[in-house]
Amino acid sequence: MKKRYATPAFLAAGVALSLGLSACGGGGGGETKNDSGSAAGSQEAQANAGLESVVNPSDKKGGTLKMAITEAWDSIDPGDTYYGLSWNFSRIYGRPLVTYKPAPGQGGRELVPDLAESLGKSSDDGKTWTYKLRQGVKFEDGTPITSKDVKYAVLRQLDKDTFVNGPTYFNDWLDLPKDFKSVYKTPDVNTDSAIETPDDQTIVFHLKKAFSGFDNFAALPATVPVPKDKDTGIKYRQHPVASGPYMFEKVEEGKQYTLVRNPNWDQATDPIRKALPDRYEVSLGVEANDLDNRIVAGDLHVDLAGTGVQAAAVGTIQADPQLKNRTDNPTGSRTWYISILGDNPPLDNVDCRKAIIYGADRVGLQNAYGGQLAGEIATGLMPPSIGGWKKLDLYPTATGDVEKAKAALQACGKPEGFETVMTFRSDRPKEQAAAESLQQALAKVGIKLTLKGFPTSEYFSSYAGKPAYTKANNIGLATNGWSADWNTGFGFMSQIVDSRVVRAAGNYNLSVRSDEIDSLIDQANSEQDKSKSDAIWGQIDQKVMEGAYVLPEVWSKGLLLRGKGLTNVFVSGAWDMYDYLNMGVE
């Protein structure tokens, strides 16, 4: 009886109030200790146990792993998806050339070969990358997987007006022949200049210019092999062909996905996967509060989104030690920040930009995003999980420094402040709260903000990401957020600090305009020594802050809740959510 679960005990708190809104009790209290509850057989694991260790390690196979998510994500077609959760999840049915090691914390950021026998071999100073495929890997229908399938998979997803969702790294970096449009429009064009497949096990990538971090490209779901004869363009999402241990049994778009074991997957070819459950059930469009309640109650194992529980649940979890023990609170590789646009005066002046950073109530902003459990006050644009990160201390991170702000205003010749407009995504309450907080804080130093909300669907395409609009409407501040495609400086920064990627509309780099930074980016990319290139990225982060191009708000954290009866639960450093590759159920 799926929905008739016992009433989540923790809700009593809230309702105690709803029966005659008396004060006291419930919600608040934060650290309230209450050991009476912890007796009843709950996991002995403590809070945050999953951050550095594996909770409930087990190799027991069998059972059904139930996942759920509030909204359907872009696509399950490995060539057409850009969600971390999807990159994480897709590995149970698709095998990229390389992938992130299923290990807790830092370990999870390490790349290990998957479909390939080893990590990429670079030659020609990083412009050519070669991979050898494992022997005996088969598609769900039993046909052996060759390098041709990988090549086809990579090429097909270059067709961005068909596969609009996925990243464009291969488009930008592969050395494609001019006359190549897409595998559909120009099937006969020879593409060996970009990708060669000398034999069925070997695949060779040729780049326009050197790039040391290519293995991260190879880890993209885009390299999950796709059999040409099964490719139905965008309809492929209706049944992606499995190369991993599980294959789709049923795909109901927007409703449910069910996966069962792939008979043609062979453990021998796959050193990293445990493939424990017999079956996966993923329900989509589950109401958010209900989803939390069901995980608490044990009807669900995992919130696939991996971004943490709803506000309502946070309070009640804090009030219940047993529940608290089931939580992990990782810091993600996502930064919520506010772009400070230099297009319109007076913000073209670095000191006026600084005034905003000084004036901001950093704690208020943190609270807006959900408080200390939901975010760590960010000192820079780059999150700590990114290679080369170093702690910056250019600005105070307290509740706003009026004196410094006023001083900065003096310096930029606006002693009594100025007016500007701030945009946010109207369908994102947290961004709204943050905007409201900043409005309050800056008012104290004489900077008057007008808030404007826009729907996410048009935010970057028609408003904040469209210079013509921001210039015309005196947009000085734009709420923004970014998460790493993978945990390197390049994976996080390239799209949001390189002024050369700026186009007419749909920009994500709203404010960083600096030749100095641009040239540093080129250095970092061509630098073969990882640690060195990492260092450069750290330097870029510093430059961004010195230029006061952005006001970083928080490095997002999520309060993740471990489902009852889950085995092998741990937070992967690659996604900063539970690693979906090797979870099992008791």
């Binding site: 009433t7 007006d161 609009v164 464009t168 309809k235 927007g254 669907s457 749909g506």
Partner: protein, 338 residues
Amino acid sequence: MVSYIIRRLIAAVLMLVVVSIVTFSIFFVIPRLAGVTTIDFASRYVGSKGASAETVAAIADKLGFNDPLVVQYGRWIKGIVLGAEYDTGASVEHCPAPCLGYSFITKTPVWPELLDRLPVTVSLAIGASIIWLIAGVATGVVSALRRGSFFDRAAMGVALAGVSLPIFFTGIICLVFFSYRFGITAPGGSYTAITENPGEWAYDLILPWITLAFLYAASYARLTRAGMLETMGEDYIRTARAKGLPESKVIVKHGLRGALTPILTIFGLDLGLLLGGAVLTESTFSLPGLGKYAVQAIQSNDLPKIMGVVLLVTLFVVLANLIVDLLYAVVDPRVRLG
């Protein structure tokens, strides 16, 4: 009679055309006037981290945003009548009539999606309407007959409160209590097809039904009461009594018959609108029906979906109107169609 129906049907079609034109203008013409470019249109469809300007331009072309508006509208209508083609990249698929367009966001034709959402809304509407008709009319009749009594005053008080409560308020409260607190009803967002499991179906919908029905029952009680009071004051009721007809018969056969006919009209319209999606109810209980669909479509700016759902909704209202008129002619001999 037949000619009347035909004329009405023609009128209905015209109405749909007008509505579709208005909808089209709202979403395609007005934004243009506001300075939204075809590129902007297209870039709404580009994934979370963008694509090159060429790609966006290509999409704008592919979706025909650059054609003259008339052509775009014509193409849309043509799709409804004759069906249309859309490009999956690998192949060109046919979307059979009535093809209400193809959503570039979810990569699906709109029509099947609407058909998919329809049962939810229908279940919601039908279920609720049955409850409110019974409850509302019964209450109304009793109140009218016991006019001024305690029951009357109490019932009318509750009814007035009922029509004054926003459903998204009552809905949430009901959810919090009955679902999250006591766990006796399904939580928001649950729906099971009746074909799958009738029990679950009812269990999932009972709360939305009651919340929605309460709102309407309230107003129907008020209407019925008013209608009854009026009819019971008619001369022909006096005649019926003068004949020596037993009161029960007077009420049922002469009173109700007269009082319920106007309510029939209102019911028809309400049901029509409701079938078009109880936007608020579905949003409150996050039911995957037409109403929620419409809201999501609007929020994600998914033009084909918006056009489709609006048209379907209007269709329901128009049909409801037609059916009501026909029924009316059956119930009230004075109404002659033609």
